[in-house]
């Protein structure tokens, strides 16, 4: 007997086509799911994403100085450097007026900015400003503003200061990014390398990457056997041993850093014990901290759990039978390990490796405390410019580049492991 197949559309009880009804239900579910996520999403965007976006904007922003010297800069742009050695009279006049009537605080802020483009702007403008204010008070306006300024300070006849002004005449500027990789502008706004003895950032970037690579490597070398052991022991032993991995993971970074200083310093625990045991004599104490060794030791220990945990979770699910099967088929243990076991741990190694690398590249507390003269990684420079030089543009640009490097690795991580596969312990 044949069952007649209805060609008509399926309907729900209230007469709506089933397809449509299902679609509607699905949309409703989607909205519901999204509404649950929405509060947190909004929160993270406001408290976290927006601050970072704000920082990125700051790295190209040059508005403040442009609101202080608008006329000077617009006249400056008309200066034909080929024809005249110094800017035309109008530039000097505009500068005179903007210094004479400008708000002291705004000018002061602009000075700090100008000094980044060329050292010496600060006192130059300050001295000139004083002379200008005196003249204005006495109502003595010069016939030639150019001569007046040059008499007030002969640096106004030095074109290099004027060339440096070219860096600042736009509201947006890439100069901080160039500075962050030891580049600058020459007098015609071509990008050139910084003077040789000032090239410090490329060197620091390399050092930061080097430390991160070393730390990742050491973590892998130390973490692999441990993760292997934990994954292959019976659970009641491995759970116990897991505490050794999780305890440092749960302990404050500062506590661990402090502990390493206490351990490694010249009058510290390790040297003390070695001297006490008679292995070292008192003036032969090793210097293991306040140098690169200290940074590597402390950072390796601090980041090691981040390598062991992902490795462990991958190794846990590799069937033990694989190795046995390979050996039964005649492979030597080393070959079996190399050809069968190791390839299966690659997801774990790359997850752990990337995690450690990404965390290491942004570290600055530990290197700064234990690194001595080698401890100034890129993070320290960011903090230094934020707090000390007030060069917030350069600070933001360094941060943006670091973030960029990080995002590349983050993206890789997502490709290899998947961002929602992160596990904690």
């Amino acid at each position: 007997m044949e069952v007649p197949i209805s060609t008509a559309e399926l309907l729900t009880t209230d007469g709506v086509p089933l397809k449509q009804s299902l679609k509607k239900a699905e949309r409703k579910n989607k909205i519901r799911a999204f509404l649950l996520v929405f509060p947190l999403l909004l929160f993270i965007i406001v408290t976290f994403v927006m601050p970072i976006g704000d920082m990125l904007l700051r790295s190209v922003d040059d508005t403040q100085i442009n609101t202080v010297f608008p006329n000077t800069f617009s006249e400056f742009k008309k200066w034909d450097k080929e024809k005249d050695e110094l800017p035309p009279e109008e530039v000097y006049k505009a500068l005179f007026e903007e210094l004479a009537y400008g708000d002291k605080i705004q000018v002061g802020r602009a000075l700090t900015r100008m000094n980044y483009s060329k050292s010496g702007w600060k006192s130059l403008i300050k001295n000139t400003s004083r002379a200008i204010k005196k003249a204005v008070k006495k109502n003595e306006f010069p016939d030639s503003y150019k001569d007046f300024l040059i008499t007030a300070n002969d640096k106004w006849a030095d074109p290099t200061y004027w060339y440096a002004m070219g860096q600042m005449v736009n509201f947006q500027t890439p100069i901080y990014y160039y500075n962050a990789i030891d580049m600058t502008y020459d007098q015609d706004q071509n990008v050139i390398r910084q003077e040789e003895n000032r090239r410090v950032y490329v060197q620091t970037w390399i050092k930061t990457l080097k430390v991160s690579v070393y730390v990742t490597f050491f973590c892998l070398v130390l973490g692999f056997p441990v993760a292997h052991l934990l994954a292959n022991l019976p659970l009641r032993y491995s759970n116990l041993l897991m505490i050794f991995v999780l305890l440092p993971f749960w302990t404050s970074l500062l506590v661990r850093t402090t502990a390493w200083i206490v351990m490694l310093q010249q009058q510290g625990v390790i040297n003390g014990i070695l001297v006490w045991l008679g292995i070292l004599n008192d003036d032969g104490r090793l210097s293991m901290v306040y140098n690169e060794t200290g940074t590597l030791i402390a950072m390796t220990q601090i980041l090691l759990p981040f390598m062991i945990l992902p490795l462990y979770s991958v190794m846990r699910v590799i069937p033990k039978s694989h190795m046995r099967a390979a050996q039964n088929l005649g492979a030597k243990p080393a070959t079996a390990f190399w050809k069968v076991y190791l390839p299966q741990t690659i997801p774990g190694m790359s997850a752990g490796g990337l995690l450690v690398f990404v965390l290491a590249i942004g570290y600055f507390i530990t290197p700064e405390l234990v690194g001595g003269k080698d401890g100034k990684l890129i993070g320290s420079w960011i903090a230094y410019h934020l707090k000390t030089t007030l060069n917030w543009g350069l600070c933001a640009a360094l941060g943006a580049i670091l973030l960029g490097v990080m995002l590349v690795f983050y993206w890789l991580y997502n490709k290899i492991v998947g961002i929602d596969n992160i596990k904690l312990g």
Partner: protein, 298 residues
């Protein structure tokens, strides 16, 4: 993983070398944390094992609680040393750390749990993108986060306030809650929700009566992660907290920069004890969760 009885001597050597290597790494992981504990009980202001501490039978004069008394702000004459300052700052810091930590934990756990419920629904649109945004505070280097927040919060008057520090810590802590709770929800049987709803329970009631008891272990371990994140956080407070918001890590940082005093080691010892406590709690919860969800312990 024991050695098979037929192992060759070479294999045996490799095996013991491997075990030895692993023990060294375990030692490397915990030794510094353990080493500071006895030193914090030393009489001496120098951070070494003094001869008195190493002698046997133990020399009672080598040990004392003076640095702990100093830490709790008991600055009587027998406690104070000329080189080690004594103040109530550690206690103020402790109070602030707990206040900030607990508040941040509460907000982070609430927001994170709700979001995790949404994320585990099968119909979640743009799941990958949203997850990436929600997890990002955990991945972005703290110095960048701190710099960005410093600039941004300064504009809206939140730098040097409790509100600012707490908001920042919530942002840093939520990824941990989202991850742990989502992980718990992986094994969660959605039919139970349907059953509850078909029996007439409203969504809120369903959550508290059906979902919550089952995922509670995940929520609690997420909350503990959130707490420890805020409690140990130093970079944000370095930039965004003033004396009023002095926390333990901020006080420690100031101390380590200047000169490491034994008082810092006392606080470090307390923090290690706290981490052991939290760690144990999380581990117990994880087992309970697996039992509840019927996942066989591997």
């Amino acid at each position: 993983m024991a050695l098979p009885s037929y192992a060759t001597p070479v294999q045996r050597t490799y095996y013991y070398a491997y075990l030895f290597f692993c023990s060294v790494v375990f030692f490397f992981l915990v030794a510094p944390l353990i080493a500071i504990v006895p030193i914090s009980f030393s009489v001496s202001p120098f951070m070494v094992f003094t001869d008195g501490m190493l002698s046997w039978p133990p020399d009672p004069d080598a040990w004392s609680l003076r640095w702990y008394q100093n830490m709790i702000g008991n600055c009587s004459a027998d406690v104070v040393s000329s080189t080690v300052p004594c103040s109530h700052k550690w206690m103020t810091g402790t109070v602030n750390s707990f206040f900030i930590g607990l508040t941040a934990t509460f907000i982070a756990t609430t927001l994170g749990t709700i979001a995790a419920l949404g994320l585990s629904r099968p119909h979640m649109p743009y799941k990958g993108l949203i997850m990436a945004i929600l997890i990002s505070p955990m991945i972005v280097p703290l110095i960048i986060t701190a710099a960005g927040m410093f600039f941004f919060y300064a504009r809206i008057n939140l730098v040097y306030t409790f509100t600012g520090v707490i908001l920042a810590h919530v942002a840093l802590a939520t990824p941990f809650v989202v991850i742990t709770v989502t992980a718990t929800l992986v094994g969660f049987d959605m039919n139970m929700v349907k059953a509850s709803q078909s029996l007439g329970a409203r969504p809120v009631r369903t959550f508290f009566k059906v979902i919550m008891p089952l995922i509670l272990p995940g929520i609690i371990s997420g909350a503990l992660f959130a707490f420890i994140t805020s409690f140990d956080e130093v970079v944000i407070v370095m930039f965004m907290a003033s004396l009023d918001q002095l926390t333990i890590p901020k006080q420690m940082w100031a101390g380590i920069r200047q000169e490491i005093s034994p008082v810092i080691l006392c606080m470090a010892t307390c923090l290690v004890a706290l981490s052991i406590f939290l760690l144990t709690t999380v581990e117990l919860l994880r087992r309970r969760s697996e039992r509840l969800r019927g996942i066989k312990s591997r």
